[in-house]
Symmetry: C2
Subunit: 339 residues, 2 copies
Amino acid sequence: MIRTPYLLFLGDAPDPLAAKVAQGIRDWRPEFAIGQFRMEGCKADMRLPDMNFQEARAAGAQTLVIGVANRGGVISKAWKAVLIEAIEAGFDIASGLHNLLTDEPDLVAAAQAHGRELHDVRVPSVEYPIANGEKRTGKRCLAVGTDCSVGKMYTMLAVDAEMRAQGQKSTFRATGQTGILITGSGVPLDAVVADFMAGSVEWLTPDNEPDHWDMIEGQGSLFHVSFSGVTMALIHGGQPDALILCHEPTREHMRGLPGYKLPSLQQVRDTALTMARIANPDCEVIGISVNTQHLSDAEAVEYLASVEAEMGLPAVDPFRQGAARLVEALVGKQSNLAA
Amino acid sequence: MIRTPYLLFLGDAPDPLAAKVAQGIRDWRPEFAIGQFRMEGCKADMRLPDMNFQEARAAGAQTLVIGVANRGGVISKAWKAVLIEAIEAGFDIASGLHNLLTDEPDLVAAAQAHGRELHDVRVPSVEYPIANGEKRTGKRCLAVGTDCSVGKMYTMLAVDAEMRAQGQKSTFRATGQTGILITGSGVPLDAVVADFMAGSVEWLTPDNEPDHWDMIEGQGSLFHVSFSGVTMALIHGGQPDALILCHEPTREHMRGLPGYKLPSLQQVRDTALTMARIANPDCEVIGISVNTQHLSDAEAVEYLASVEAEMGLPAVDPFRQGAARLVEALVGKQSNLAA
């Protein structure tokens, strides 16, 4: 658990895109984002108050979150000096960098000297159990994709936000480093040892109130040969009651796999349901989330209508249209289950 | 790669069953098993020459393999003294124990002093790549099970042995610690980090001669919610041309999961083929291996005949009947592919 709220470290970001993590926090957990810290030459701006470490501490910030991808994956000398200053000012530090904070002896020494914590969200910090498959109370929804990087995290963050806006009980459950930094907790599933993958997902989505929904961030795709095992563990460890299919309609091949075509939504629906019903016979697909960023408004509307007609399920782009119709489908399922 | 041949360490085995690894080596790689080393009170006997370390070294043994499960998973003081003696006599040591050899400073020091290697086959020693899904030359057969521990390793060792006896090109590819100790190499798949599972299987089964078969040891089951992700990675990383379904017909529920019934062979066939054909559209199920150890001879014959009729595929118990009919089906597939 990363202590909130945050001061967002934008460093010397070479461009706004490099600050994807900071952007995610500002968009999805604005209440965690007290301010931003920028170094000379920083090309990103979250439009948050620029604060030095003393100001941010005084405003209540607990953790400096590395909100930016660094060059070459290493912690530069310039960054190092700044991070040590932050620790001395009383900050924990949280990072998803490939270069682990805890592999840097001077950061570790500073954190020990000042009683602060270093969070490397790229590596698991918990000894997860082996999955036991036992039915848990509460409800769970999982995003499954036709491919990697089609908008599963965005979709589930949007559904979770809409659920809570409607007064429903919902918790976003992060399974990747960006999601963990945004929400302050989760499981870095791609870094979990094979035998404990499904168990880590069970651990992440424990017993809960009967009308509480875990919105589980998906990873990979059953149809992506590099990462399908990770997706499988999510489906069985998460024992979802509901699936949301996620798709990006302009991909010519699976991400990183030029020889592999994307599956159809029907194929993903059928395969994912077959597997999901092993752990939860009541599982249903409740809707489809389409990332239409590469389509015009008119194309997007037309495409969504055609998917909706073909699949007989609500099809929306939550970025363009919000997630209300997906929530409606989920809440409908909830009443059906209760009936 | 573990250097062969071996001296088999049986330690103070409390009963013959504890020496499962030694038994596997003696059964499947008798040419690796130069002799056995037993301590006082050992209740296991591989019917190999009892040798001290000097005798075994003189006979050519390179590695002392821990062929026995120890009590409580720890390396006792009594074992420790003996293992250090072995290192001093010029042995490498290979072990699948939970208590790693390399976590014992005195073993590490002895190995360094004498220039010997310590192999903990429970943990990966290779940085595996992320799977790229590219089609490889050569052929691959994978065992997939209705459940865990139904005889997948045994089946593939038997098929591999029969292939080689018939003069076919075949290599058993171990994916678990017992298989690795038996054959001297492999991937401890259950200990590989999630993102690299499929890549480790690609690494294990590289390009080969067009008529060479990799016989890939299966793990878990697509229908076992604790380990299905591992099975999935084997199916996509292995890109098999052929599957052999493995089954144990007397199980009342999935191993370790009282609430989960076993799937039918039809369900496993359909699900495994759907997933396998993503990576290899030509994949086929070529036969069924049934572990009939809990059936009488008559029951076994009757059961196998009924499976064969239902599935339209050869169904054999390789322990009782040998693997010739499975090999026949594989070699038939090979001619079909070539045609």
